[in-house]
Each structure stands twice: as structure tokens, then as C-alpha cells.
């Protein structure tokens, strides 16, 4: 069933404090949607990982928080976008423990595991867009 966007909010990710702001905004929306505490924690943690990736690897960008529904369920979709160097090998980037930075290489793979739906688009030289969705 097609996903309909109920509302959307965009946030800039430019400095490390913005990661905290994204976490807080995602928390607020997941509470408003009626997510249980474990689901809230999962979606906030996944967002924190992806927001940090946007900053550290993409050189900053934005997060778009959307309340969505597909006719039967409502959910929270968060899309992270940057115009950074992009990911040359997506499969490799999704491998646990693989990192080109000084992290632990868990950001993408961990965020994927913590979400119901996960989409990754990236083109070297153009940027990266990662989207996670958690249904209620």
C-alpha cells in the first residue's frame, strides 16, 4: 500500500549539537505517535547514528522527519541527506565493522537493524540519502 506523508519537518545538521537536536525531535515525534519506550529508543538511536554519519562523512546536511501512514498503520520516517563524497561501495558500507572513518562501522548496519524499512541511495561525488522507517 502506498505511503502517505501526513506531516514533515526538516532540520539542518551542521554541528555536533545538531545531532542532539535531531535525537530530541525524533523522540518527541515517536512519543506523539504513541511508540512504546523500546521502539522510541530504537528509532532515536538509529537516528543518532545516521545524523552523525551525515555530519562526519557527508560534511553536514539535513534530516527530514515525516509522520507517515499506509492506510492501516502510522509510522515515523526519517531521511538523512548530504551532498558529501558519497559511498563508493554500498554493500561494503553496510557490513558490520566496516568504516572509513574512526567510528566502529556500526552506523549504517546498526540503523538498518533498528528499523522496519531502510533505504540507501548514494552516488560518489553527489551525496548520500538514507531513509529509515519505523511503524507503530
Amino acid at each position: 500500500m502506498a505511503i502517505r506523508v501526513v506531516s514533515a519537518e526538516s532540520m539542518e545538521i551542521r554541528v555536533s549539537d545538531d545531532i542532539v537536536l535531531v535525537r530530541q525531535a525524533v523522540r518527541k515525534k515517536s512519543v506523539a505517535l504513541g511508540f512504546g519506550l523500546v521502539d522510541q529508543t530504537k528509532v532515536v538511536t538509529a537516528s543518532s547514528e545516521l545524523a552523525r554519519n551525515t555530519l562526519d562523512y557527508g560534511g553536514g546536511g539535513k534530516a527530514v522527519l515525516e509522520l507517515v501512514e499506509n492506510g492501516t498503520r502510522s509510522g515515523l520516517r526519517i531521511t538523512f541527506e548530504d551532498q558529501g563524497p558519497g559511498i563508493p561501495n554500498i554493500e561494503l558500507a553496510l557490513t558490520d565493522g566496516y568504516t572509513t572513518g574512526n567510528g566502529m562501522g556500526l552506523g549504517l548496519s546498526g540503523a538498518k537493524r533498528l528499523s522496519h524499512e531502510f533505504e540507501l541511495w548514494s552516488k560518489p561525488g553527489e551525496g548520500t540519502r538514507v531513509s529509515i522507517l519505523r511503524w507503530k
Binding site: 555536533s16 549539537d17 545531532i19 542532539v20 535525537r23 530530541q24 523522540r27 519506550l37 523500546v38 522510541q40 529508543t41 530504537k42 532515536v44 538511536t45 538509529a46 543518532s48 547514528e49 552523525r52 558490520d96 567510528g103 566502529m104 556500526l106 552506523g107 548496519s109 546498526g110 537493524r113 533498528l114
Partner: protein, 130 residues
Amino acid sequence: MERIPILKMGEYLLVTIQVDMHDRLALTLQDDLTEQIVKHRAHGVLIDISALEIVDSFIGRMLASIASMARLLDAETVVVGMQPAVAITLVELGLPMKGIRTALDVEKGMTALRSALLEAGHDGDSSGIR
């Protein structure tokens, strides 16, 4: 600059993290704590994370580094008070919290520290905490 307070209790240091930490604050804590371990010749560090609503890979890595650094400085670290939802999320995230001792609360953490110190050959006599 914003800082997380480090309290001295006998030969232990107690850190209670009560704010949603931004990355710089986490790194400052790492520096401050290693400094305080040496300054007070502390043999144990208790980190209370009961107020933390999430632990992502950055904070998890910071906790693991603190434990490793403390060990090099002859101090044991126990992380206490992790919320159940945080534990569930950490496992799914795939974060290996290797080398980190945990306990349910500060009291159990103290007991864990004491036995860790006995193992390590410190009897904890000078602490006055029994």
C-alpha cells in the same frame, strides 16, 4: 564550558551522566576522568547512566574507551543503571560492550568494584568504604 561532574568517594570516582550528551561533552568527560583518576589515585570508577535515554555507538565507544584507559591507569570501571530499553537497543545495534563491567544500580556497582579490586590485588582498605 559545560562539564559532567566527577565526585570522589574514598578511592572511587563517581560520575552521574544526567544530560543528553553531545559528542564534545563525551570527549571532555573522557579527558577529565583520566585526569581525576591520576590526581586522586583512584582505583575504581562508577559511571551511572540511569538517566541516559539512549546509548549510541559514539557513547558506547566512549564508555569502552574510559574503561580501557582507566585499566591502564590501574582503575576498574563499572557502568551502572542502564535502562532496559537501552540494553535491548544496544544489542540490536550490534555494539560490543566488551571489557565493560555493568551492574544494575550504584550499590551493586560498588560491590562489583570491590570484588574487581580484590581480584586485581587491591584490598580497598584505604577507601574506608566497606
